[in-house]
Structure formats: C-alpha cells, structure tokens
Symmetry: C2
Subunit: 886 residues, 2 copies
C-alpha cells in the first residue's frame, strides 16, 4: 500500500501543515488558523481533522477512516510537546478546545467544546499550574456544561437553572461573584445531572472525551438543523466538516484576561472602523451567549492600550492579507493576546456594497472582484423598502411572499375605500379574500395588498409584482369578514382602519406601523452597478406592462422590455368593459366593434411604452390568458356587466359557463386565441405598428418585437406571423415610414423546444417562458403546488422550488434543446428568458451558460439580474483569492 492518507494537519509555533487555500479540506476556520500561524500571528497550537474524514465517517456507519485515530494521537503528542503539557496530567495538564469548521460557516452544527481534557486528576494539575482554584473549577464546570449540552445533547436550561439557584442562594448577581467552593458545588451538581440524563458517569479519560467530541462534530454535520440550513443555502451534503482541536487559551484567568469578537469594518453599514466587543475575565461563549453585557471594543483601547495596539496591528494585517473585511475572535490570557479565529465577515447588503467599493478604492481588490464580493441574492434587500429588523414588530400572520418590499397602512377591505382614503392622503393596505380586475384602482391606491386566497400567480400577486407593490398572498392565517369590517389573523381581530405592515419579501404580516428602511440606489450602489455592467455579457431587460413600468425599467437601467403583457392593460379602467364586450360578442362583427374600441387605448399604451424606451427593444406579447379570466365571476358582477353592455344576464351566465375550463393553464389561450380569432391579433398588431409609426414620424426609433405566445408548432407561429407581418407592412405603408421590428415567439411548452428548429426557420427570436415551461415539463400547476411543493423541497425531491430557480436538470435541459435546435437553423436567433426566473441569480447564471442573449425580470430585480449576470461572466475568468464565504 501507498503512504497512508493524511487525515490530520498540525499547526503551531509559526509553522502549519495547512494553508488558507485548503478550505475544502480543512474547513474555513481550520485553514485560517493554519494561515494565521504561518503569518506569525499568535495562535494557540493545535491540529485539524479533515472534512474528508467527516464524510468517510458519515458514509460508513460512524466509523473513522483507517489511520485517522492514530494520526490524531500523533498530533496530540506533538501538541503536548509543543505546549509542554500532557493530556490528563496531574501537574501540567493539556486542555483543548474542539470546534467544528466546514467550508462555510454553518449555524446548526456542533460548535465548540472548551476545556476538554479536564477530569478529577487534571483538575488538580490545573489548580497546581495556575494557582487559581476558582479558575480551575470554573473551567471544569464550563467543560461539563458544554460537553453535556453540545456532545451529549442535554438541554442547556438544566444547568442554567442550577447556576441561577446557586446565585440566588449566595445572593449574588454575576457568575464572577461565585466562589471556588460555589463552583466546586456546581461541578458536583452538574456531574449528577450528567449521570441522571445519560445513565453514565462523566467520562474521565481525556482521549475518550476527545473521541466523544470528534464524533459529536462529525455527527452534527447531518443533524436536522444543519441539513435544513444547507438546503436553504444550497450547500451540498458531501462537503463535510473539519474538526479543530486546539490548546486552550484562557480569557477567564482574572482581570488581565478577557475575550472578544470584532469585525474589521462595520458589518451593518460597511463603514471603515474597528467594530466589536469584549468581556474581561470570560471565555468566548460568554460573549456570544450574552451572559454578561460586553463592552464596545473602543473601551479596550483605554483598558489595555498595548493589547489594543497589537490587536489593531493584527486586524489591519489580516484585512490586507485576506483583502476583505474580517470577523475575528481573540482571547487575552493574563496580558497575552491570542487569535482564535479569523474569517471573512458576514455583512448586510448595504455593507457588502460599501466595503466592496471601498476596498477597490483602497486598491486592495479590482473592480471585478468588487462585483463578485456582493451576492446578487442579497442585493434585493436594497431595492425595496424593508422592515427595520431592529424594531421587532409583532408577526400576526404569514402568507406567500408574492411581491417583495414592505408596506405600512391602515386596513381597508374594498377598492373603493382604498381609493377614497388614499385620496385623502392616508396610507392604506388592501385586504381581500382575493382580488379581481375590478380592484385594480384600489390596488394602485394602496401601499400593499394582502389576500387570503390565491397563489404566486394569482391576480393579486401578478398585478402587484407588475406594479412593484408589496403583496402577501394566500395567507391561510387570515379570515376576511369584509361585510363586518374586520379580519382575523389567527385569533387576533383586526378592525378596519387599524395599521398593519406587510413584508412582501418574507410573506409576513405585522401588527401596527413598523419602521421601514428606504432603498438607497445612488452612491456606492450606483458605482458597483456601473462596474457590474462592464463585467457582464448577457443583457438585462424588464417585464413591464405599462408606461409606468417602463419608466421604472429605465430608472433601474433595464436595457429593453423583455415582456410586455398586453392583457394586463386590458384590466385597467373601462377597458375591461370593451374586452368583455368583445368576448360576449355573438359574431365577428360584434367582436370587431369591441376591438375597435380597444385599438386606440392599446395604441396609446404602446406609444407610451415605446416612447419611454427610446430605441431599446420592447417585446410585446399578443393576447395570452384564457378569455374567461376577463369575465365577471359573481352574480352581482354579471348583473353589472349586463347593464353596462346590454347583453342579457342569461347570455352572460351561459357564456361564463360554456367558457369554464377544467385546466385553463392547458386550455384555450395563447396563440390559440389568435388562431381562432385572428381579428384580435390583427388589432393588436395594428395598435403596435400605428404607435411605432407615429413615433417614427416624430423622429424616434422605436423597436417593437412582437411575440406570439404558447406556440407548439411551426404552423401556429406561421399563421400568427403572417397576420402581424401583413399589418406591419400595411401600417408602415400607410404612414410612409419604416420601423425596425422583429417577430418571434415565446418558448413555453415542451413541444416548442422539440421543434425549435422548425420554428426558428420563421421566428427571429425566442423568449423562454419558464413559468409555463416549468408547469408543463414538471406537470406542476404553480397555483396548486402550494399543497405539496414545500414538502417536496424539504425532502430534496426538487433541489429548489422550481418556480423560484430554474430546474436545470429538467426544464433547463429542454431550454438547452430549444437553444441548440433553434440556433442550428438560425445562427443569429435572438434568445431571451421572460419567466420570473429571469430575476433569480442562479437562473441568470444558467441562462448565461446556455448562451441566451438576455434575461428579463421584474424592473425591481434588474440590479439583481445585472449583478448575477456579471458573476456568471466573471466566474472562472477573474482569478480571485479564495474568500471565506461562498
């Protein structure tokens, strides 16, 4: 056999077997301990057991890999030698900390056991060595406490209650006021608890303690909390965690000892200042656990100026070395400083942006690296008003996060009320069972929308996203009693006029007026976005249905409109009446009359949108939804429509009945409408090209791209294209101008991907409609999946919610097929995506990889998409020093 595999890496005395780059093998914490040791920074000696050992253990029924334990024993011996102390020694015992450390920091995994190695014998050694009985007993009780909790799973409060009881008995307030004898008593009590809870005596053999601790770290890799965290953060299950075993440094050896955590810059704002806190005479977990209130780090400068100066030198050196803001942990043992950890510090989105820009200005990183330093997913926070998390408002209900951002307002239950109160300058939140087209005015007037029913593609959700208004949809927690003027959030009754706050990014409903943080899109943010723009290849357009949306698109730097859903215009104002008239028309003439009413309205919209977008492309989709979506649903609404249109209510009812569909998603919609009623496509084409020609005559350069939806065969596309092309030519001839335009199709059903070659022979562009493509490829109704999809994601049946991030293995394969087959026939085929995935970072990266020309997303997601696009293009190209964060 070849040399035995190396499972254990040693560090100490300014030498280390590992280095920062070995994060995958040694974990984030471990590799940085090795690196700091190499840099000559004071780090207690120790060793790291590799992540590979953990994976072996996980996959092999909790067996260590061959040779690992031997290597641990060897390293232990080396450590004993380095520290001049030995495990369990009655005179000079070696005590160690045991810490987990995966590639990325992962809450939920076993964290830390301190003072391991203590037992009845070594306790005496510790007393002898330190001449500090109180310290020794304090260390022992801490060890038993942590070991019991972290390694054996005995709940913390059990021990805390014993300490509280002791303090009460002794009439003291602080742990530090307990005497050596008190602590000795605690040790006895703790051991008794241990015996009770585990049926075993507290293990006395240090190596046995170590083995237990290693097993606990390894085992914690697969505990439910860790698994959940990994799922949420897309961390593969086969990374494993390393184990760091390190000689103890004591922050609890008196007033010249202490411990602290700090960030090299402000993690909340990104401001360049040393930011942290410390505790005198304490061990690390005291700071984290908030047992005592720590002091701000600035105080240390006053209290221990030499130590502070040394710390300052180290943190600046680390930031320069790692070229990023660091999160550090240190311990001061009797006036000597030890670094216990350094890692790239977590930060808010705002801080991430500022730090990235500042580091670039400080010439520590390049602009490309700065772009890569900000996670696109995080960016969304900055683009909407958000609830100030420090305000801790009361959560009263939860629903679907249907449209991001936060909204505060008084509860109203009808659109009319919303408009009326908003007219008086009041902020309102519209609360409804579900919304319908009649509510558009009220939705506009409201700050946000809350519904009890409906999914992520319900009317409320779709319209709200289009308007950029926060929306929480389909909340099962609420019951709306509109007629009584209140709603229940679980058991809490909220009256009309009471304030609530919606968090459309999380789906939370909060009681009262929460404090909001407004988005800030200039300054560093703008600078970073300029850099991102230069880094990316793939274009970013927005889904925008109205001139207002188009304006937002331009504000956010959209490079065109990738999806303009003409039908959304149909819901507004009295247009819905003309639309209904069209649907209810008994014959072609009747339809034509109603369409003639719609023509000028559509034309005005298109003129507005095309005008705002200048010479940028505007992809306009012809009518798509099932027509019954436009029809009234309740008896009352039908009566209303009957009065307005003069159509007898019986005919309306009969029509509504006859148009009912079992599966409207797979029904009479998309180009199927235009094929059955070519006059609709004709009218829409006329509106588009009259608008464009008029703008052209005004000297502008509009660029419409007409998109036919739900195409599955070449014939469908061809028949619709013929109409659009004829109308385009006729209209341009009539106006005597030429307008640049394209005619293409949405690729949103599997068959379109299969026959993409045929379709590309006639279509100038494809836009992947990944919402519907996901629904069809997965046979999964977005509106109905709520019942089981969360469980599916939990059980890893899908890696992620396929409506949030493209199912690359399934839907993505079909997209690839569409791209390949389409481009084979037409080399310059323009390719885009207009499903809501266009704003999801992972999906944007996928789109970049399969060679799309652009993504299109909600206007408010444009910066997210741009940044993701830059990441996609930079990754693998820019040589970036390994960061502590993924």
């Amino acid at each position: 056999m070849a040399t035995a595999k190396k499972w254990v890496y040693f560090f100490g005395n300014k030498k280390a077997e590992g280095r920062a780059e070995q994060k995958n093998l040694l974990g984030g914490k471990g590799s940085n301990l090795h690196e700091m040791t190499r840099l000559g920074i004071p780090v207690p000696a120790g060793f790291t057991i590799t992540t590979e050992a953990c994976i072996y253990y996980t996959n092999n029924k909790k067996q260590y890999p061959q040779g690992m334990w031997k290597q641990v024993e060897d390293a232990l011996a080396k450590l004993e030698k380095a520290m001049g102390a030995s495990f369990g020694d009655p005179n000079n015992p070696l005590l160690v900390s045991v810490r987990s450390g995966a590639r990325v920091s992962m809450p939920g995994m076993m964290d830390t056991v301190l003072n391991l190695g203590l037992n009845e014998t070594s306790l005496k050694g510790l007393i002898a060595k330190t001449q500090n009985e109180r310290f020794a007993y304090d260390s022992y009780r801490r060890f038993i406490q942590m070991f019991s909790d972290v390694v054996m799973g005995i709940e913390k409060p059990v021990f805390e209650r014993i300490i509280e009881a002791k303090k009460h008995e002794k009439k003291v307030k602080l742990d530090t006021e307990l005497t050596a004898q008190d602590l000795k008593d605690l040790v006895e009590l703790f051991k008794r608890v241990f015996k009770e809870k585990t049926g075993k005596d507290f293990p006395q053999e240090p190596k046995e303690q170590l083995r237990y601790a290693i097993n606990a770290v390894f085992g914690s890799w697969d505990n439910p909390r860790a698994v959940t965290y990994r799922r949420l953060n897309k961390i593969p299950g086969d990374w494993g965690t390393a184990v760091n075993v390190q000689a103890m440094a004591y922050g609890n050896m008196g007033e010249n000892s202490g411990t602290g955590v700090a960030f090299t810059r402000d993690p909340g704002t990104g401001e360049k200042r040393f930011f942290g806190e410390y505790l005198i005479n304490a061990q690390g977990e005291d700071v984290v656990a908030g047992v005592r209130t720590p002091m701000p780090i600035a105080e240390l400068k006053r209290q221990m100026p030499k130590i502070y100066a040394e710390l300052e030198g180290i943190y600046k050196r680390l930031e320069k070395h790692y070229r990023d803001m660091q999160d550090i942990e240190f311990t001061i043992q009797e006036g000597k400083l030890y670094m216990l950890q350094c890692r790239v510090g977590k930060r808010t989105a705002a801080a991430a942006v500022k730090i990235a820009v500042d580091l670039t200005k400080e010439k520590l990183i390049s602009k490309e690296e700065a772009v890569l330093r900000v996670s696109p997913g995080q960016l969304d926070q900055l683009l909407h008003p958000r609830v100030d998390p420090t305000a801790h408002p009361q959560k009263i209900a939860k629903g679907l996060p249907a449209s991001p951002g936060a909204a505060v307002g008084k509860v109203v239950f009808t659109a009319a009320e919303a408009e009326e109160m908003a007219g008086k300058g009041e902020r309102v939140v519209l609360v409804r069972l579900e919304t319908s087209p009649e509510d558009i005015g009220g939705m506009h007037a409201a700050q946000g929308i809350l519904t009890a029913r409906g999914g992520m593609t319900s009317h409320a959700a779709v319209v709200a996203r289009g308007m950029g208004k926060p929306c929480v949809a389909g909340s099962n927690d609420i019951t709306v009693y509109e007629e009584h003027g209140y709603f229940f959030a679980k058991d809490l009754k909220i009256q009309r006029g009471e304030y609530i706050t919606l968090d459309g990014s999380t789906g939370e409903v909060l009681l009262g007026e929460a404090k909001l943080i407004q988005p800030e899109l200039s300054g560093d943010f703008a600078t970073l976005m300029t850099w991102a723009d230069k880094c990316r290849k793939i274009g970013v357009r927005a889904n925008a249905d109205t001139p207002t949306d188009a304006k937002v698109t331009r504000q956010f730097g959209g490079e065109g409109i990738g999806l303009c859903r003409t039908e959304h215009m149909f819901f507004e104002g009295d247009r819905i009446e003309a639309v209904r008239e069209m649907i209810l028309a008994a014959d072609l003439d009747g339809r034509r009359r109603a369409l003639a009413k719609l023509l000028p309205m559509q034309k005005e919209d298109f003129k507005g949108i095309l005008g705002i977008m200048g010479n940028l492309p505007v992809t306009i989709r012809t009518l798509d939804p099932p027509l019954h979506e436009f029809l009234p649903k309740t008896e009352e609404d039908m009566r209303d429509v009957s009065q307005k249109t003069g159509v007898p209510i019986d005919r309306i009812k009969a029509k509504v009945d006859s148009m009912h569909e079992f599966n409207p998603m797979l029904g009479f919609r998309g180009c199927r409408l235009g094929l059955e009623y070519p006059e609709i496509t004709e009218m829409q084409a006329q509106a588009i090209f009259e608008a464009a020609c008029e703008l052209r005559k005004e000297g502008k350069n509009p660029f419409p791209e007409v998109m036919i939806p739900l195409v599955g065969t070449l014939a469908e596309f061809q028949l619709q294209k013929d109409i659009v092309e004829r109308v385009a030519k006729e209209t341009m001839k009539k106006y005597g101008v030429k307008v640049k335009y394209m005619i293409g199709t949405m690729i949103e059903i599997p068959r379109a991907c299969i026959v993409a070659g045929e379709i590309a022979s006639q279509a100038e562009f494809f836009s992947f409609g990944t919402n519907d493509l996901t629904q069809t490829v997965l046979a999964l109704s977005r509106d109905d999946a709520g019942k089981f999809l969360p469980g599916y994601v939990d059980r890893k049946i899908y890696k992620e919610d396929p409506f949030v991030s493209i199912d690359q293995e399934g839907v993505g394969e079909m997209m690839k097929m569409g791209v390949e087959r389409g481009r084979k026939v037409r080399k310059d085929l323009e390719l885009g995506i207009c499903g809501e995935h266009g704003g999801d970072p992972a999906s944007v990266i996928f789109c970049h990889q399969i060679g799309l020309d652009y993504v299109s997303c909600s206007p408010y997601r444009i910066p997210v998409a741009k940044l993701a696009a830059a990441h996609a293009n930079l990754k693998g190209k820019v040589k970036v020093k390994e960061m502590g964060e993924k």
Copy 2:
C-alpha cells in the same frame, strides 16, 4: 440540357409505356390501364399525364411544366393514328374521355369528362361515322353537360331541369325515349345556359377543350372537398393526380351497347361471387349517378352470354394477376367489350377478413400478405355491435365518440331508474348532464351512456370505456331536463321511456331502435388473428380495472394487463364511502382506519384480476387522480356524505373548498399523493401482495408489476418504491412464499423522459402514459381542447388529433428520449405504453419502431392493436405486390 422529362405515357394496341407498379407516377387508374393493355385485355387506347405534372402545376401558379403540352400533342397524334381518327375531324372524329387518377381513389376530385372533342364540326363527323344522329346528339348533350358541370362548375340541376322539361313536354319517361331532334334542342338549350353562366361560347376547338379539362383535373387536386378527404385519410398534399385521356368507347350506341361496374367478390361480405350491375345503352356515369336503375350482373349472362363469358375470363384473370379482389368498369360498344378501369376493390371490414383468408386458402397470397390486407383501423367495426347502415336511422344529435359500439335502449335520467328498469329486463340508455361516481351502478345497468357535458376523459367517458359500454359524451346538441323527464336533442323533445340508439364510435345519437349488427369474432376473424399473432414482435396487453375487464382481456387474447387503475375500483359500491372517509379524515389515524376498510376490498379485486390473468403480467398503478375527484360535488351529495360518515357538513364543504384546484391535471395527484400520504401506497401494496401471496399459496403464479404514476424525479420514484418493496418483502415473509414482481413507473410527464436514465437506475419498467404526456408536451388539456382542437386539425396545425394518434414529432420525440436514456442505463428495461394511443394503429406502429416491448389498450381494441403490431413488423419485410390501396 439532358433529355426532356417525360410527362406523358402512352398506351394502346397491347403496348404501354407504363405499368402497374408506377402508381405513384401514373395514378391508380392510369397505371392499371397501362397494365391491362400490357396483359392484352381490351382497353381503349390513350395516354396518361403524370402526377408530377400536376404537382408542378399546383406549385407554379397553374403553369404546365416545360414540354408537357408538346408531349400531350404528340401523344394525341399517336392516339389519332392508333384510332384512325382525328380531333375535330368532320368525317371521323376522335373523341376522348378525360379522367383524374391519383395514387389512391379520392372522392371529391374532378372525375370524368366524356366525349371530349365534340363540336359543331366533329358532331357531323360522328353522325357520318355512326350513321346514328340520335347517338351523336346524345353524346354531344352529355359532353356539354359534363364539361359545364365538371370543368366549368355550373351546377348539375340546371341541366337536369331542362331535360325534365323536355321529357314532360314530350310526355315521355326515359331519356332513351327522347328523339334525335329532342336532343338537338337540348344541345341548343345547354349551349345557351353555358353562355349565360360563363359569359363565353361553348369552346369549339377540341385542344382548347382538352386544355380546359386537364386544368380542371389538376385544379381539382386542391379543391376543398379533396383537401378535406386527404386530411381525413392521411393522404399527403404533394402526391398530385394524374390525368388519363382515352379514346371513347360507347355504351350508348343502342341495345347491343352498355356499361357496368362490378366487383370480383362481394365487397360487403367477401363472398366469392361476381358482384355488380350494368345498364344497356348507357354511358358509365349513368350507372354511378343512378339515373336509371341498373340490372344485376347475373342478368348480363342471360342478355349477352358471349360478352359475359369474356368478362368472366377477364375478371378472373385480373384477380389472379393482381391477387386481390378487383373493382372493374367496362363498356360494351356494339357488341364489343372494353375494360375502362380495374382497381383493388374497397370492402367492409368483414369482407376484408374473409377475402384475405380465402385468397390465402386459394394460395394466391401468403398468410403475411393476408394479415397486411386488413387495415387495423377498419377492424374496430367488427369488435362492437354497430348500427346497420342500411337502416338509415334518423340522426338527432352529435357528441364525442367517447366509447365505441352501438347501444339501443329506453331513455332514463337517473342511475336508480336505470337499475330498476334493467332489473325488469328492459334495455335502457342513461342520459345525464354529466355522470359522477354515484352513477356507477346505473352505468353498469344501462346499454350505453349519453352526457351533455364533459370531454373524452370525463367520468362518463373513462368509466364507459373501462366497462366497454358505448358512450356519447359532451353532446352540445342536447339539453337535459331530468326533473321534467325529457331532454331536447336540438329542437326535438325526447321523453323518458322513448327509444334512442347511441353510436359511440361516431358520437351519433339516433332516434328509435336502430338495427344493430353483432360482432362475429370466430371463423375467418379468428384465423386471421392467429396469423397476425405469429407475425408481430410487440406484445399486446389491455387496460383493465376489474375482474370483468380481465375476463374480456383474456377473451380478446390480451397478453397481460398493461394498466390496472386502482382508483376505478374506488368508485364502486360503498367503497366510495371508505375513500371519502379517508380523504375527510382529520389525521393519520383516521386515514389508517379508512384505509383498513379499503384493504380487503382492493385485495379481493387484485386477487380476482391476478387470478384470471394466470401467470401473465398485471401492471397495477397506485392511486393517481386528484383526491377531490372522489368528493361529493353538490350540496345534496355533501349532506348525504355527512350523514353516512358523521363528518359535519361544514367540514366537508371546507374540505371540498380547500381541495379545489385550478389545474387538477397538474396538481396534487399521482405519486404526489403517495408521497404526502405514504399510508395509501402502503395499503395498496399490501392489497396487491397479499392477493398475490394467497394465489401463490394456491399454486398459481401471479405476476404483479407495481407502477408508480406521475413520476418526474428519481427521488419520487425511489421513495415510493421503498414502500412497495418493503411491504412486498414483509408480506411474502408473512405468507412464506415468493412472488415474481416488478416495480416500475409510468412515464407521463416531460421531465420523466429527460431524466429517464436516472429513473431507470431504479425502475424495472417504464410504461408511457401518453394521455398525460400529450397533455403536458403540448400544453393541451384533453378536456378543454374540444373548443379549438378540431379547428387545429382542419388547419393542419396538428396532422391528427394528438389524443387519437401519437404526435410523433413532439410527444414521440420525448418518448424516444425516454426509451434511449432508459435503456442506456438498464438494458433489459421493460417498455410499454398504456395511454389510449395503445389501440391506435399508427401509434402501435410507432411504438414498434421505437422499440417498445408491448402496447396496452382497451380490451376491445386488442385485435386492432395486434393487427397493427403485425403490420408494423411485416412492413418493409414481406415483399408484397403493390396494392391498389394504401
């Protein structure tokens, strides 16, 4: 340039430039005229213009290809020489017939113009030559009449009215009683009509007449009737038609002349007897048009024994030469026999079977050829009772042909009524708005089911097909007034108790008791099926849900069950109550209690089915449909369920509401149910394996294949398989026997095809669920497509209804992907299809081609599928003489 392309082929004087094999080039009629000429059979000389010329003409704005007209003129000269007569000759004029002739006989295309070449001059020549003024004028008036109708599009009745007027004026009854002068008058009147209708004089130049006629034949290839016919019969539009120009033979030259059509065997029954009819002193179109009543061919033997003997010799020779039953046309001109056409004769399914078997017995064809002689599509006729077409019943409404076969019975409107009357021995037809699970008993009792609402997969349709009962579903023509005891079929009121007849194969509803023809499955049919079985490679199973279905499956020779839908059992009797109890259960315990009630019932079913099927495989699908399908729909039903289950009605309503789905097809169904409620899968597995083990203990060899539906990821399959496997092992252990079984999956969503490799790593078989695969690949709801799908097929957007015949370009591609990826990972993966396409001949052939192991279809379609499977395997293998039919 090379030699000019040959557009025109001459035949005459026992020599011919073409032959029978050149059907594609010369058309069916043309190639057979050439062939008969070669055989020395008396055929008037002539020439054929090729189908390629027609296609050129169609594609090139009605221009002849270069050189064609010159070749026509040359052939004409040759014909003049052969006949010793010339075009427009005042003494001995050449007259010709012009007939279309495509590869296959195609009604709707221009048919025949006779006597072309007649004008004022040649008329005189004809008189001079024949010394028969009356004959000459009769020929002339016929020519003008046909030319006007067929070439110029002037409606026939115009001329017929003129003839009638003349006969009335002359007080005669028969055309033959009109004198030469009368006919001369008619000619003048006809010419005047021609002038009035076309604005032009009747063309006098024979070559101009010919050009007109050729153009009319070419043009008729694309007339709407022909296009429709081609669509219905799957004939490509680029085949074109040939034009046959042939010297006239006259059947109207007196009592020693005549014309007739005949079949060499009885086309209705297949009986071996000369079968046809003739008219003395008439031209061919008189027989076809039914102007006079023709005489049976046997009469000719008496009337013209020499001619009859010659004809007998010819027909026997032709049948032997072509080795198939022939359809012939002949003319007798003054005692001389001419053959004008021979082609393979059309026949009923029954005749096709008998003739194929007889010809084999006569050693004219092989068994393989016999199998190929019967069209699988046609066979379905023989498998169900059918309405006797000779009875001409009154059609009163039309709906979807939801389940084939014919049913006669008295109208009833409720299941209870149906059961009650059937109990008294009455035949009833159940007429309902739509059916629901409560109607099962009534559906069983009824002869057939008629519904006003619902598609091809509505409850009525699915259950009826399962029961093999005729069903006409979703008839928009009917309005049901159950409470009043009548329904309207359009404006006709049908009372309870009146007889109606349903034709589930066509979707027609007929008034009264139509005469039915019962299927005959023994004799020649059985013989042919035995031969077919030997010819095919691919297996044929049936979709069978009950022991009754299983019996039918065995009767029809099914080689297993390819789909046993366990949920169909759930609808029967009081099981639905247990199912509802399960759905309404508040928790797992409640569900388990309800499932425990279902277990013995399911077990009994499985035992029944597995028992009947012996050692043949039985593919059992675990629960598939959305659970809300089992819940009551009306307030009344809910109250009923509430009483039976003790669940408060409010909870039932709330449950029904909460389970509502926008797109149930894409919702909470299939394996998604089993993943959320593993206890259901568990119970079903237990029922299957307990049944199988009990049979095994009885010494039988049951072979269940457990099929997980709606799988889209490996994880879904794996999680369900784990349950089934565990239960299988536990049960076999409990019973102490081993049962042969497999666990596989239905491939019915696009993602399953994409990740088929992964799934095959765990699945032992795939069964393509092409119903749902079609719905998802095409984003087409089968229940809703009725509104636009017929239009789609009309406009050739789909070549065929994709729910009837597999959309090979789209769905078929996904299937191929599934097959390839699956077999790559598991070589012996068993592959089948269980969508309703399994009974469609074209789809069976496709399945054979992509390498499936079996198809599964309705038990009643087994013979169709078997025959199609044999065709698939024989085609391209067996050298078959070109047939006259596709």
